[in-house]
Symmetry: C2
Subunit: 227 residues, 2 copies
């Protein structure tokens, strides 16, 4: 069921005392639909917890899923401070750190940190499949050298990701363009064996890893055979 | 020290009774150098164990590192069966499964399952850095939604990866071209909201994940906060 239909149902049952939130991954489009269809008396403030994995549904719940994870609270022009406070308390109670963002800023940031990475993972796996078919090589079994890690991300729920890609298509298109521009530059460096340029890039990107670990967004234990 | 200089040193010390192997990630170029500079009496058969992680050096060794991992043994025109048997025994003894490949087949397959994934990971992190700078957003801290996983791969040793990219540049260039072609098709699907085409792709790529788990190249436990 899409968000419009959910709202039309909710409209009949929710009292003005309730505060509704959602945990969608893109915010501009859903915010438009909420503004258009939600009964004026009902309150809705969006959230986006940056937690979870490649599996979906309550059966994959985990008790410490939100511990130390960021949760974005969406603040729009008319969002009441009272409602933000309630929502903030809720997310903190289950372990999250919270931060306020506009729908526009949210969708820009996550086009780069989440939507593009997922698309790139899907695209890498698709390219490997095509290559396998064309070359008639059985290559998936040699995936432990890198492809394996992308396949995990590319196993995420397809309906959810279709909706995210479509909802945030403008930001994602820009992110894809930046990505392709940089990949073409890498290709040129590789083809011309530009030692200085490529080393600079590889050293620079390595720094992000230390930053992510320092920010407790990942652990520093190296990932071997996962056994 | 590059492989040519290593060979020139080895030439003076290794007896014809020894069998040498290496564990390099690309094989066509190194095979040429070995053929050109190694003393004719000395035997060298290349290996490529598909094991390891983003960290390098003996201090990151692990006792079960090669367990159930593939190790590619490189079979060339003049490779002696006797030498392949010795090498095969060695890798099996430390837990690996082995398979024979020509340098050409090896470099093609790994351009797709390992070299391109690493390049794409580096490129994604680089694009995120550029975006962060340009937008003046502090976005790395919100990396748990996907970017985080790429940053691990992009933290691999830069000298090693420069050499792999340069050595296997022809196959990698082809792999990049296929990847960009597919990414542009995804972009088109997203921009035109082509529901049928995008769902087909997302469902197809998901199947690779089950295949990888079935082939024991990864575990099926979902990856949450890694805590």
């Amino acid at each position: 069921m899409n968000i419009k239909n959910i709202i039309l149902k909710i409209n009949n049952f929710v009292s003005p005392n309730c505060l509704i939130t959602d945990i969608g991954s893109s915010k501009i489009e859903s915010s438009k639909i909420i503004r258009k269809f939600l009964k004026k008396k009902i309150s809705w403030v969006s959230s986006h917890p940056i937690a979870g994995s490649e599996v979906s549904g309550p059966e994959h719940g985990k008790i410490n899923m939100f511990n130390d994870r960021w949760c974005i609270l969406i603040k729009e022009k008319n969002t009441k401070k009272k409602h933000l406070n309630i929502l903030n308390k809720f997310w903190k109670k289950i372990g999250s750190k919270t931060v306020l963002m506009s729908p526009e800023k949210h969708d820009k940031i996550f086009s780069m940190t989440s939507h593009l990475p997922h698309l790139v993972a899907y695209n890498l796996v698709k390219s490997a499949q095509e290559f396998e078919k064309k070359q008639n090589y059985n290559l998936i079994k040699y995936s432990a050298g890198g492809l394996r890690d992308f396949s995990r991300i590319a196993a995420s729920n397809e309906i959810m990701w279709r909706d995210i890609f479509f909802d945030n298509k403008n930001n994602i298109t820009k992110a894809i363009n930046l990505f392709i521009k940089n990949l073409n530059a890498f290709k040129k460096d590789i083809y011309s064996k530009n030692n200085k340029s490529i080393l600079k890039k590889l050293v620079q990107t390595k720094k992000v890893r230390s930053k992510i670990i320092k920010l407790k967004q990942d652990i520093d234990k190296p990932d071997f055979g996962r056994n």
